[in-house]
């Protein structure tokens, strides 16, 4: 599959890809016995390929254990890669050493889910935001350093006068703004957002979503957005990939995927999300799929979704479907579909 995906990418007209992931595999070792020998492998991410186009938001959605966060960490090379390729700004960075990665990291930054756990409580907010500049030795001129911090705080809607305060003096929404300002410090082109709003109150989520969209427009950022909240994903994304048990089962543009979901899992996921409108809810069919996501340790044979799939056929138990194109901008891994 990797060869096929690579040759396809090579033939396609060159759209400017800021990053590409080719047949990515991340397998975690299972250790056992008192010698802690490796007795098996957990395929957390098992053959995922996608491109990130400059200036777009590509979202990875799925339930816990689907591998979306592991994929994101692997793109940042913060997670050892078992197989596959990660290409960033035209360079294959898959096997870069930490020293070689250092300049590359300036271009890719991360915004974390938990604004309470991800900020050092003993550091002043200005220093938290400026720390990446210090790490990358860009803070030699103190005046310029402080000026940059003020600029960043202003950019994310924080009062620059708050730079000398500590994180506990800020609310959840403001802390997430601090996290975003820190991620922007090095002027990255790609930002990986791992569930950036799911820990926030409903009325604050909207503020942060708006900020992220506004920053994208102003700075031309590319987002790899990891989330489980489909309504937020629909709002912010240009393209979406749906993951299940370490694999991409469907990709498509936002409108295609939300209006015409193809994979039975995508359909089930969309059915399960309640819409905040009782009149629409009363008319929805609520077809619930049975069962829960199986353990990644023992993924089912064939299609990983077949034990829960309402449309499963005998073939699905045996052969794993490949992610095949459906028209120009969508793909699905399901035996119900012929490649178009």
């Amino acid at each position: 599959m990797s060869d096929c995906a690579m040759s396809e990418a090579a033939i396609k007209p060159v759209e400017e890809n800021i990053a590409s992931v080719r047949d990515l595999k991340v397998h975690f070792p299972i250790t056992g016995g008192w010698l802690k020998k490796t007795v098996g492998w957990v395929p957390a991410v098992d053959g995922v390929s996608f491109d990130l186009k400059r200036g777009e938001t590509f979202s990875l959605v799925g339930e816990s254990g689907c591998g979306k966060s592991t994929t994101a960490l692997a793109v940042l090379r913060m997670q050892p890669v078992t197989a596959g390729q990660i290409i960033f700004e035209g360079k294959d960075v898959t096997h870069y050493t930490p020293n070689e990665m250092r300049p590359i990291r300036r271009g890719m930054q991360m915004v974390y889910q938990d604004p309470f756990g991800s900020l050092n409580p003993r550091m002043k907010v200005g220093d938290i935001i400026g720390e990446p500049l210090v790490v990358h030795r860009l803070a030699r001129d103190k005046g310029k350093y402080r000026e940059r911090i003020r600029e960043l705080m202003d950019l994310v809607g924080l009062l620059p006068d708050m730079a000398d305060r500590y994180p506990h003096e800020f609310s959840g929404g403001q802390r997430q703004r601090i996290g975003i300002a820190r991620a922007l410090a090095l002027d990255p082109s790609l930002i990986i957002c791992d569930e950036p709003v799911s820990a926030l109150d409903v009325s604050i989520q909207a503020q942060v979503v708006n900020l992220l969209m506004d920053l994208q427009r102003r700075l031309g950022l590319t987002y790899l957005f990891i989330a489980h909240d489909l309504s937020v994903v629909r709002h912010i994304s240009h393209r979406v990939g749906v993951m299940y048990l370490g694999q991409l089962v469907e990709t498509g543009t936002r409108d295609e995927l939300f209006s015409h979901p193809k994979h039975p899992y995508t359909q089930a996921l969309l059915d399960a999300v309640p819409v905040a409108n009782p009149e629409i809810e009363a008319q929805r069919p609520h077809k619930l799929i049975v069962g829960e996501v199986p353990s990644v340790r023992n993924p089912p044979s064939g299609c990983p979704f077949h034990p829960r799939c309402p449309k499963a056929m005998p073939e699905c138990k045996v052969t794993k479907p490949e992610l095949l194109m459906q028209g120009a901008s969508a793909s699905v891994a399901c035996h119900l579909y012929e490649p178009i």
Binding site: D201, P274, N277, L288
Partner: protein
């Protein structure tokens, strides 16, 4: 299932409940003069963000507010008793028997060293004087009813053998064991995956309907409210600011906070890419509540009297109440907008 016009005696009737907690910085009032009722067979959702007082209201019903919490004023009337006045042993008789509770994190509510069967059987043995063997057998039936596959054989297993969704099913089985009149579910599915969340909530709703029990769902998820609730109470800063049937609330939100909250949620049928409507400012700090309306600091319609006194609750339509002094102002602005259009 609008209950507004039916004059039945409510199953649970909370009147002017205030609850405070002792903290290092003095007493903090988490619930401030809350009145609400639940009718028989009805599903009431209490909606609010963190610190709104929704969970404390629910926990107070069963006296589960710990040593630092205290009910300052108010009555909690249930089946002829004022639960606010009952002693702990008397409350213990009601908990799990007449009123059951389901919590957000099933792993911390289940005893890790007792088998599932023992835990599900216990309330029936305790409250219903059932022989242990009978209770144990009935536990198997209950696990079957909450769709746990191979239930009879799983009675001997421990909570850690179960997945998150399965544990929450066990919690539901325990809650239903004594066929309670009222089930309180505090964010029952927040920790679960989307597809499992839908399964659990539908199961809970169906089983309470079969028993003709009432259900209180505490949640921050407006989608969950829309799908499962008959009636909704919206809380903010320790007070109920609006109550209505679910349909009425989403159609005619009449408090600026409710209006803002509904508008700020991106929906699966909205316009993607456009800026979302937001509520400016931050959620209230319970230790530093403003003197008047708790929402006034974030409210675009707030005027001077909003900052002075607590807005009274008024009925604006049958079954639809809200606490807002700026309301006329909102109506005027809507009229204004309509004129312009």
């Amino acid at each position: 299932m609008s209950q507004a016009e039916v004059h039945v005696k409510p199953l649970l009737d909370i009147r002017d409940l205030s609850v405070s907690f002792g903290t290092d910085g003095g007493r903090v009032r988490a619930v401030d003069g809350v009145s609400l009722y639940v009718n028989e067979g009805e599903t009431l959702a209490i909606v609010g963000e963190s610190g709104s007082g929704k969970s404390v209201t629910a926990l107070s019903i069963l006296g589960l507010i710990g040593d630092s919490g205290k009910i300052d004023t108010g009555q909690i009337l249930f089946e002829g008793n004022d639960l606010a006045q009952l002693s702990t042993p008397a409350l213990r008789k009601i908990r799990g028997d007449r009123i059951a509770m389901i919590f957000q994190e099933p792993m911390s509510s289940l005893n890790p060293v007792l088998t599932i069967g023992k835990q599900v059987a216990e309330p029936m043995w305790l409250h219903r004087n059932m022989a242990w063997d009978d209770a144990y057998e009935r536990a198997g039936e209950l696990l079957d009813r909450v769709s746990i596959p191979d239930a009879k054989h799983r009675l001997h297993e421990y909570p850690h053998h179960f997945s998150g969704g399965m544990r929450q099913r066990v919690m539901i089985a325990m809650a239903l064991a004594c066929e309670p009149q009222l089930i309180i579910a505090d964010e029952p599915t927040t920790a679960l995956d989307v597809t499992v969340q839908a399964q659990i909530l539908s199961l809970l709703k169906n089983l309470t309907q079969e028993l003709n029990s009432s259900l209180i769902i505490i949640t921050h998820d407006l989608g969950v409210v829309a799908r499962y609730a008959d009636r909704v109470a919206v809380m903010y800063g320790g007070r109920i600011i609006e109550t209505a049937s679910a349909r009425e609330l989403y159609k005619n939100p009449s408090h600026p906070y409710t209006e803002g909250l509904i508008a700020s949620v991106p929906s699966l049928d909205g316009n993607p890419g456009e800026p979302l409507k937001t509520i400016a400012g931050q959620p209230p700090d319970l230790a530093n509540l403003p003197p008047g309306c708790t929402f006034a600091p974030r409210c675009q319609y707030a005027r001077d009297e909003c900052r002075e006194g607590k807005p009274p609750i008024e009925v604006i339509r049958p079954g639809h109440e809200r606490a807002c002094l700026g309301y006329e102002r909102i109506e005027e602005q809507v009229d204004e907008r309509l004129r312009h259009e």
